[in-house]
Symmetry: C2
DNA sequence: GTGAAAGCGCTAACAT
DNA sequence: ATGTTAGCGCTTTCAC
């Protein structure tokens, strides 16, 4: 038990283990050779002294950097005020903690993607998680960070992506709507620039086309406020709509709020669906029919990919499952 | 414009500025003396080269650490799966980013507070933000981190606290209820061990006592599920209840869900209030009457205190304002 | 006011 | 298999 004082250094460990620093370093870092005896003695010394490698020193010599950067693209820095981003950052921070790494989050202006370069020029950046990416951004990832970058959203040849299968989730939702007899189905989409939300829209279009049904699209932005406005627009343009697919749970909640204010019954007159399955989705009235979106698991996977920097598939899709509740 | 390659080091800056490393270091770190001319030349060199100090090297020599640790106390690691924690971590990460620092988050078991010591023994920890603290934890903060620790919740002589004025918020809520004619007011509290939630309960008790009204308390845990169960319990124990104060918005939503399932009108039969003013509070049906809780601002303040490590008041309370909507 | 020199704690050749 | 030797990039006495 360390009595008090200065945390133990590698030197202390080596000394008490009766080996050289190099040997101690090898067994601790798990790199290079070491005899079983040496290994054992070092191990003992380590937890006798309560030794914890100094992340800064390690990063300095290896040039590995000391924090994971979560770079979020968007039109304003307000993109950072988002529960989705919070979850990604927090999830990554959780994975990083045991590795002696931290997480930082910064906004990358959509119209000035090269701002990303300033961020990644910093030697302290050990890895990069891109959120809400667009292609120009992907191409700006510096060679130094190759293999240590992952995108939550669309990827590229050089940047693997980890994402939700929103196409599949939307597919399940629209099928459910269709199966329940809905035929005049509208959709409140995400912002057009956000490439990864296109898959949802495409799933919606594909299904309706196959069914010989016309599409009814209104642009949204994931927020409840836009959901409200979108609902009004849908009602105005297509008064006979019998279902509205929201791009997010917040959107759906906004839609429902607006509909109710207009005296429209949900799901009686119009069925409404969300996407995300936020914790509150089961508590609202009516409880939301939606599709799951395991953001936390995705963030964890993304951070893990960056930390372990071992080869990964270009694209990992987390399944999205239909969650049937009362709103549709 | 740096053309490509290896990021500039302090040596590069010194060389192009025609001064010694020491001088360059002084002007960049803003420490020590330097002639205006030297200062100027270094400045120029810095942005000519796009120089960014290497956080790891800096941390190594100064022993300052390289990441902020958010330590969250709780009964299980599930405390980390919480929107509140997410916001704190994300907010802190945002503040840290420009300083070349990262954020890590870890759980501290409530029954093994000394686990905190293992975390803070790490030289990489530049500062500490305690969340959901209890007194034993406060006393475990090592001297090394004095002045670089802040608690979101209760504090101590050695650890300043930054927190929400939940006493004030609850006060406003209960007064509002009373003013609307409610007299049989129940409360769903937070977990008893969580000291900082006591202030809410005390405000509730104080007001009711002053009004000569009996208290009706049920233990909750901030979750909607507990809110549901608590609502049932309230109804069973005090069937004539006409208002329920929830310790959080999620709690209130759970309460409302349960009440509605039982055919109870909200706010007609029973008024229900939350606490937090989450984004969805205005979208639910009925829209939630609640008290604001600027978690993000609090997290930002906490991280700032830690980073700037300048003397701060022992206790900073962020005001909580009543937000009147439809549920009460 | 400025520079020379000595590390911070660790890893990675390079011997041995 | 293990030890010796250089640094990684920066800050900071300590002389000048």
């Amino acid at each position: 038990m360390t009595t008090a004082r200065r945390p133990a250094t590698l030197d202390d460990v080596a000394r008490t283990a009766g080996v050289s620093r190099s040997t101690a370093s090898r067994v601790i870092a798990g790199t290079g050779f070491a005899s079983p005896i040496a290994r054992e003695r070092v191990r003992t010394a380590v937890d006798l002294l309560g030794y914890r490698p100094n992340a800064a020193a390690r990063a300095l010599v290896r040039g590995g950097g000391v924090r994971l950067l979560v770079a979020v693209a968007g039109t304003s820095s307000a993109v950072l005020d988002d529960n989705y981003v919070d979850q990604v950052v927090s999830g990554a921070a959780r994975v990083c903690a045991p590795h002696g790494l931290g997480v930082a989050v910064q906004w990358v202006p959509l119209d000035t993607p090269r701002r990303l370069t300033e961020l990644t020029d910093d030697r302290g950046v050990a890895g990069l998680i891109l959120v809400n990416t667009i292609t120009p951004l992907l191409d700006l990832v510096p060679p130094r960070l190759r293999g240590r970058t992952v995108s939550i959203g669309i990827g590229s040849a050089a940047v693997p992506s980890v994402d939700i299968d929103n196409g599949g989730g939307t597919d399940a939702i629209v099928r459910h709507l269709y199966a329940s007899g809905r035929r005049r189905i509208a959709m409140v989409t995400g912002p057009p620039w956000l490439t990864c939300s296109h898959r949802s829209v495409e799933a919606y279009r594909g299904l309706l086309r196959d069914a010989g049904l016309p599409t009814r699209e209104v642009v949204g932005d994931f927020s409840a406020a836009r959901g409200r406005a979108a609902a009004r627009e849908v009602l105005r343009r297509w008064p006979d709509t019998d279902a509205i697919v929201g791009i997010s749970d917040a959107t759906a909640l906004g839609v429902i709020g607006r509909l109710r204010a207009d005296g429209v019954q949900v799901p009686g007159d119009i069925a409404v669906t969300g996407f995300d399955d936020i914790p509150l989705a089961s508590v609202t009235a009516p409880a939301l029919t939606t599709a799951s979106h395991p953001v936390r698991a995705i963030a964890t996977a993304a951070a893990t990919v960056v930390l372990e920097k071992r080869p990964v598939p270009t694209r990992t899709l987390f399944p999205s499952a239909l969650v049937r509740r009362d709103s549709a």
